[in-house]
Symmetry: C2
């Protein structure tokens, strides 16, 4: 039987990480996967392709935990040294793995590329190690479990490219580590719109002191998420514990701001809700400039629901494509509740949809006035015989990207409220009958 | 005079990092900025909101380097402990900073949100520290320079949200650290479309061996960038050295694939070119679903050029809004050169633009066939009396997000080629007269 893991660290290897050339998405990926297995992560360290510094980082990590997950540095070039350095720590020699060699030769045949001698280096495996054959690249993953200094230590070595790491993890590493973990963490996420981080923190102050289940808020660009995580020996128990806390939070005043549980984001929640209700959607965008449609079409299978959209950046397009009246633009301006309402209704009409959404505002950096500073955005939902418009006052210190993102997120929240799925958000609206 | 920095490490603080809830873009950002200042980074460490482990990580880092950049954990909640723990290492007490306090009060007034008592915690500063006031949030940055154990140690503490970190770094932290560094790296970026990483690597093989200036390729989602970096004691010298190499590369055969120098991305290059030529643009999107318009409208001031766009996800919308003929959809399918051509021409006509762009394809995960697998995308440019269509064969192993992104990027490249700004990319096209 495999030895249980107490705690892990992650070491990512690659000078490119320390030069800021690439963003380390692997650390987040591996952390998230270990969290799911209930394996606590104490530290994540990135080091360069420098054998002395890597050696020191390995010894440091094993002084704190029994298991280290390594990522990167398994490539064919001379500066790829992870395998060699970890083997040295465990006192293991390297042996040619016949299957890995054969796979490398085949891989180069398939992609019609010339194989260089140093590629065979990737088939060398520490003696006695578990090999995770790689179906998406040339470097296999490696698992080591061995006594060092009287204690059992474990190592998992993985290739750096996410397109290799992810399938390798899911098919081979996860079952390997599941056998070695003491339980599982089950998390449920409560999604909120219309409330800020400090207010959430204040309301959840007492709850956040609990160790198991834990409650943690994550707020970003117009929405908040409360993650409730419970650790237990098996899935059913952990799930029950975290669900109980979710239900309890739903019954507090925070419940008014909840638009979904475990729905990932507003666009997914909205697409799912529209699909369930067999409703179709059209959008018209000014300041979000395509982002709204992009986020809706990020949801696979959205085509059941989403008929199409308009990006009407200039007034001419608003009139021509959406039928916004010249009068409205003249009297109220393009950035107004009235224009937003006519845009939403116009998009809905043009595509024959059940619901129409629109945005019009000032995303900056230029274009603000005293009355309508940068960050002023009107978002509208046309549904049945009404159009619901909200004026957003996003902080002008936010970037253009953020203002657009917050506007889209808020509009998803408003749409859920109009569909009766969010209690708190039907206040402070201008409602037009049209 | 400020003490010079020998080497630095980065410590990012936040349990969310170790749970895999967010990708640590800050580590890459700070690493890249330190590289520019010629400050070597030995390690990057992420730790949770746990005071004991943070304390250990601080001591570890200062055992190897004289300077640590901290990021995150400056928030208002009780688990934000970076400032307290670093102050303890330096033996410093915390004092209320009046200007920071005033800024926090004002910030909450501007966004019309309720300020909670714990927000004032963010105005507490280690005594004698340099304060970097934060114009984009409530937690100021902090610089500490002080003797610990007989050696001068430096610390810079920064807020975690990138929207606060980036402007704070550029306006205040960079000059502060520049005074403490021995030189500067100036980089220029050469932007290429239509050529792969290995071909670029092969052509630049000899060049890439140089230590100063360095030449490094970065390829990602349909485009390539060659970064030329020179290190010198001052800006003027480093700039001159790197520009000389850029000019030399322009004169090689790689010059055919260059669409811009230091232009950041394809959308910026295209908007700038259209503006210079006084041309207007309209787009029609199927598989990119708004991303194309979103990326164009990411460019501030794009409204001079961009008239608007259509997201025509269903065939009905393609016919109704863009005038794509039922015959074409029937005979050639929605994913075809013919449909792409009619979409681009239709968007251009509907908005009276000088140039029309379109995308239609299979972004996945579902929807692929043997003849048109996932990753098949047709991109089209309608300009003057012609429509130029390219069939992209993006690897089906890419994600939906990546396929959409590559399609948009390739289309920007094709547009630049049609405008005569990219020598190599007018091959392998289907050209329609319409």
């Amino acid at each position: 039987m495999a030895e249980k893991i107490r705690a892990a660290e992650i070491i990512c290897v690659g000078t490119e990480l320390l030069l800021g050339d690439i963003v380390n998405t692997n650390a987040a990926y591996i952390s998230g996967k270990l969290a799911k297995l209930g394996i606590p992560v104490y530290r994540e360290t990135s080091v360069g392709d420098n054998p002395e510094r890597l050696k020191a980082a390995i010894a440091d990590a094993y002084s704190r935990v029994d298991t280290v997950i390594f990522c990167g540095g398994l490539g064919p070039t001379d500066d790829d040294l992870t395998k060699e350095t970890v083997s040295e720590y465990f006192g293991l020699g390297l042996e040619l793995n016949a299957e890995a060699e054969e796979r490398i030769v085949k891989f180069f045949e398939t992609v019609c590329r010339h194989m260089t001698v140093n590629n065979i280096k990737q088939a060398m495996i520490p003696s006695g190690a578990t090999v995770f054959q790689n179906d998406f690249g040339t470097a296999p993953g490696i698992g080591i479990e061995r006594t060092v200094g009287g204690e059992i230590k474990q190592a998992v070595l993985l290739p750096g490219p996410p397109s290799e790491l992810h399938p390798l993890w899911e098919s081979k590493v996860e079952p390997y580590l599941a056998e070695r973990s003491n339980g599982i963490i089950v998390s449920h996420n409560i999604h909120l719109i219309g409330i800020g981080e400090s207010a959430v923190g204040e309301m959840m102050k007492e709850r956040m002191k609990s160790d198991n289940p834990t409650v943690a808020p994550y707020c970003n660009e117009g929405e908040c998420r409360l993650r409730v995580s419970a650790f237990a020996p098996d899935y059913a128990k952990a799930d029950e514990m975290s669900r109980a806390v979710v239900d309890e939070i739903k019954s507090t005043e925070l419940g008014d701001y909840i638009y979904g549980i475990d729905c990932e984001n507003g666009e997914k929640a909205l697409v799912a809700e529209l699909r369930a209700e067999k409703l179709t959607l059209a959008v018209a965008e000014s300041c979000t400039g395509g982002l709204l449609a992009k986020r809706i079409t990020d949801v696979p299978g959205c085509s059941d629901v989403f008929l199409g959209g308009f990006v009407t950046y200039c007034n001419d397009a608003k009139m021509k494509l959406l039928g916004v009246s010249a009068d409205t633009l003249d009297k109220f301006d393009a950035v107004s509740a009235e224009t937003a309402a006519e845009m939403a209704a116009g998009a809905r009409r043009a595509l024959g949809a059940d619901m129409g959404l629109s945005t019009t505002g000032i995303a900056g950096p230029g274009g603000g006035t005293a009355e309508k500073p940068v960050g002023t955005v009107f978002v509208a939902v046309s549904y049945k015989d009404k159009v619901y418009v909200r004026r957003l006052r996003i902080s002008p210190t936010k970037t253009r990207e953020q203002i657009r993102s917050i506007a889209a997120t808020s509009l998803f929240g408003l749409s859920m409220a109009v569909l009766g799925k969010l209690r708190a958000s039907l206040q402070d609206l201008t409602v037009f009958n049209m």
